[in-house]
């Protein structure tokens, strides 16, 4: 059977067309789902914005069962910001160190198992982290918190951060768990980005007499800074949105305080715990509005991450 060229071409065109519409449908479906989620939660949260207005964001009190119910999201937004900040502060140095170690310093036989291990931490389900937190970490941390308070309680700034401690489920506990959870994400992105550093740059630096450390600071870090910042922001988005692990160890007590050893509450945690008994329309709406707040915050962080990464990419293309 001989095929003519035009036969081949039309066959290929059919395949192309099928492939193109399949990918297009996939891409459109993601956008559509995102749009529908945004529409539904915005729609369902209008009730609380109509009754409470923007006070919803500035009100500290959360009293859904009171005679005159008060719905304020401020202490939950505060808790989300605090725990995510702790997580980032703790996770970034570890992740960057780990990424630089695996790519630049580690002997070759160690590299693969290290990469596999960090990636394995990323696939541990978050509820497992949460259970580990409540069964092991939180009880063990009580003594540590008390010591920190005793040592640093009188220092000017640390004193207010490391305040009185009496229990194990706190902002700090949640921040620690989140830090462990986002470390593999930041590490693997940082590693990928660092590996894109042209070998010629590294070789050049070394040939000019740079030490390994000077090579890292002079060639690797400038090249990968943008992408790494993007990875950190993805980690931040994950830390803010993480629900169950944080919910289990944060203490679930809406609180605004500088004391990191105090129990608090976060947006995803209150939604998870109080949705089941949210029988009044207003409370449902308030919880959905908190979901909307979280959605918008994580979207903003992710957009910012994308913007940073693409700017870094443009700069790198210009350089090479």
């Amino acid at each position: 059977m001989a095929l003519t060229i035009s036969d081949l071409r039309s066959k290929r065109q059919v395949g192309d067309r099928v492939f193109r519409s399949a990918t297009l449908a996939g891409g459109a479906a993601i956008l559509l789902i995102l749009a529908l989620i945004a529409y539904t939660i915005t729609n369902k949260s209008t009730l609380i914005f109509r009754t409470a207005g923007l006070d919803f964001f500035t009100e500290k009190r959360w009293a859904p069962s009171a005679d005159k119910p008060v719905f304020g999201a401020l202490s939950f937004i505060f808790g989300t910001a605090v725990t995510a900040t702790i997580a980032i502060v703790l996770a970034v140095p570890v992740s960057l160190g780990l990424a630089l170690f695996t790519t630049q310093v580690a002997p070759k036989w160690l590299k693969k198992p290290l990469v596999a291990l960090t990636d394995m931490v990323a696939v541990v389900p978050s509820v497992v982290f949460g259970l580990w937190g409540i069964i092991y970490l939180a009880p063990k941390l009580i003594g540590f918190f008390k010591n920190m308070h005793n040592w640093f309680g009188d220092w000017p700034i640390l004193g207010s951060l490391f305040g009185k401690a009496s229990a194990g489920r706190t902002f700090m506990t949640a921040g620690l768990i989140l830090a462990v959870m986002i470390t593999p994400i930041i590490t693997s992105i940082a590693r990928e980005v660092i590996e894109t550093t042209p070998q010629t740059d590294c070789d050049g630096a070394l040939a000019l007499g740079a030490t390994r450390w000077e090579m890292i600071t002079g060639a690797v870090i400038p090249h990968s800074a943008g992408g790494t910042v993007g990875g950190v922001m993805l980690g931040l988005g994950r830390a803010m949105g993480e629900t169950i692990a944080a919910a289990l160890v944060i203490g679930s007590s809406p609180t605004i305080t500088a004391n990191l050893f105090s129990a608090g509450d976060s947006l995803p945690s209150v939604i998870a715990f109080q949705w089941g008994e949210a029988t009044s329309a207003e409370k449902r709406s308030a919880l959905i509005a908190m979901g909307l707040t979280l959605f918008v915050l994580t979207l903003l962080v992710n957009f910012a991450a994308t913007a940073v990464v693409s700017r870094a990419m443009r700069r790198m293309q210009g350089a090479s």
Binding site: I33, L34, I37, A38, W62, A63, S65, A66, D67, K108, W109, K112, P113, S126, I135, A138, I142, K164, S166, A167, G168, R169, E192, V193, E195, T196, T197, P198, G230, L234, G237, G241, T243, I244, A247, G251, S252, S253, T257, S262, A263, P268, A272, F273, Q274, G276, E277, T279, S280, G291, F295, T298, L299, N302, A305, T306, V309, S310, A312, Q317
Partner: protein, 428 residues
């Protein structure tokens, strides 16, 4: 471990194709970030649903905290007599009706019943359902839990055949029940313990005034004079008090706060200012756990902690619990007998709703939870009506003997008789 030369080759490729790899990696990051953008909303919503499904919440938003506060404080012995005599009277009339109705033939019951609601009595219902299956092999019953609020709204929308609730349906919500009239059938009761973790203190006594001060964090140390006054002769450590409460909306919170509101609320001239409800505006920095077991876990782990936990979870976690001063001024341990004593003194309303806490009587334990099954009086399907009546009858007769095995107290006989009369109102 890869052979070294393979690694080298890989490295060589890397330097040659570095720019292509670089753009690949970056597009990978972009995709990741897009995916994360899509997933962050997706995962948080799925977490929410799973958590709300698993939320151990026995609940109620009912604000009907008036039952006990209405009761004049002066009555002590006289009303006990009157209730006893009226109980005896109603019991005898009820006995007449139960005698005339033929004993239910459980084995003849068929079909399946679906129910949801309060998680507080779930262990008891599960036990009863398992045993009932032997008597009525052709009837399957599924009690899904999910919390009293879920139970009430499921029955309201006629999603379930009957529902469990720890709280009374709000006046305003009664009209929303699509199936018309429904009856309350009280099923079981249980004490709520004041569980604590204080090494070296085996016996603790607490008065409502002290409990009120502890849970509003107006006192913060275990050796506070207020606690010491309740415990003459006991050496108390100066440990910080850690207040533990529920993170989820809960019937246990509702019953605990109703007790405090009745004993120490504004109407009683006491110090309790947090009112009552299935969730309260707790003082900042207190600890909260998910479900009774979550609260028990925090108490186990935290020296100086105190919280309210139902008896079966407190026992399962080997917690110590305090004796609480009742309305008659006696310190009573949270036992099933003391809870039954409270039930005998509770004011039962005509529709069989009542509040068990802060009851009269020397032997009554003052913090207890009651629970009901609610079902429509008019069922579309006669077989279904028969099945519901059969199960509820079993629950109130043979089932009551199962209650103590799972740390619940059986209802007093007078209340069982009234409950059976309500069961008889369910028909087709």
């Amino acid at each position: 471990m890869a052979p070294p030369d393979a690694q080298n080759r890989h490295h060589g490729d890397n330097s040659v194709n570095s720019s292509r790899k670089r753009s690949l990696a970056i597009s990978g990051i972009l995709t990741l970030s897009l995916l994360a953008a899509a997933c962050s909303s997706d995962s948080s919503s799925s977490d929410t649903t799973s958590a709300s499904e698993s939320t151990v919440a026995e609940t109620t938003t009912s604000a009907a905290s008036t039952e006990t506060t209405e009761a004049p404080a002066a009555e002590t012995t006289v009303p006990a007599d009157t209730t006893a005599s009226s109980d005896a009277g109603s019991a005898s009339t009820e006995a007449g009706t139960t005698d005339t109705t033929p004993a239910v033939d459980y084995a003849a019951l068929q079909g399946s019943l679906i129910a949801s609601g309060a998680t507080f009595p779930k262990a008891f219902y599960d036990e009863a359902i398992a045993n009932f299956a032997e008597a009525a092999p052709d009837l399957t019953i599924e009690y899904g839990g999910g919390g009293s609020g879920k139970g009430r709204s499921d029955l309201q929308e006629q999603v379930v055949d009957f529902a469990g609730t720890d709280g009374v349906v709000k006046e305003a919500d009664i009209a929303l029940f699509k199936g018309g009239d429904f009856v309350y059938v009280p099923t079981v009761i249980a004490p709520i313990t004041m569980s604590y973790n204080l090494p070296g203190v085996d016996k603790l006594q607490l008065s409502p005034a002290t409990i009120s001060a502890i849970f509003q964090t107006t006192i913060t140390k275990w050796d506070d004079p207020l606690i010491a006054a309740d415990n003459p002769g006991v050496t108390l450590p100066s440990t910080d008090i850690v207040v533990v409460h529920r993170a989820d909306g809960s019937g246990t919170t509702d019953n605990f706060s109703k007790f405090l509101n009745a004993a120490e609320g504004p109407d009683a001239g006491g110090s309790w200012k947090l009112a009552s409800g299935s969730e309260l505006e707790w003082p900042a920095g207190t600890q909260a756990g998910d479900g009774n077991s979550g609260v028990a876990q925090i108490i186990t782990d935290t020296e100086g902690a105190i919280g309210y936990v139902d008896l079966s979870d407190a026992k399962a976690n080997n917690l110590s619990f305090a004796a609480v001063k009742n309305k008659a001024g006696k310190y009573i341990e949270p036992t099933l007998e003391a809870t039954s004593a409270a039930a005998e003194n509770a004011k039962i309303k005509d529709d069989l709703t009542y509040f068990l806490g802060w009851a009269d009587g020397d032997k009554s334990y003052p913090i207890a939870a009651q629970t009901w099954i609610i079902a429509y009086t008019k069922q579309a399907d006669p077989a279904k009506a028969e099945a519901i009546r059969g199960f509820l009858t079993y629950l109130l007769t043979e089932g009551q003997t199962l209650a103590p095995t799972v740390d619940y107290a059986p209802l007093p006989e007078s209340l069982v008789a009234k409950a059976l009369a309500n069961v008889d109102k369910i028909g087709a």
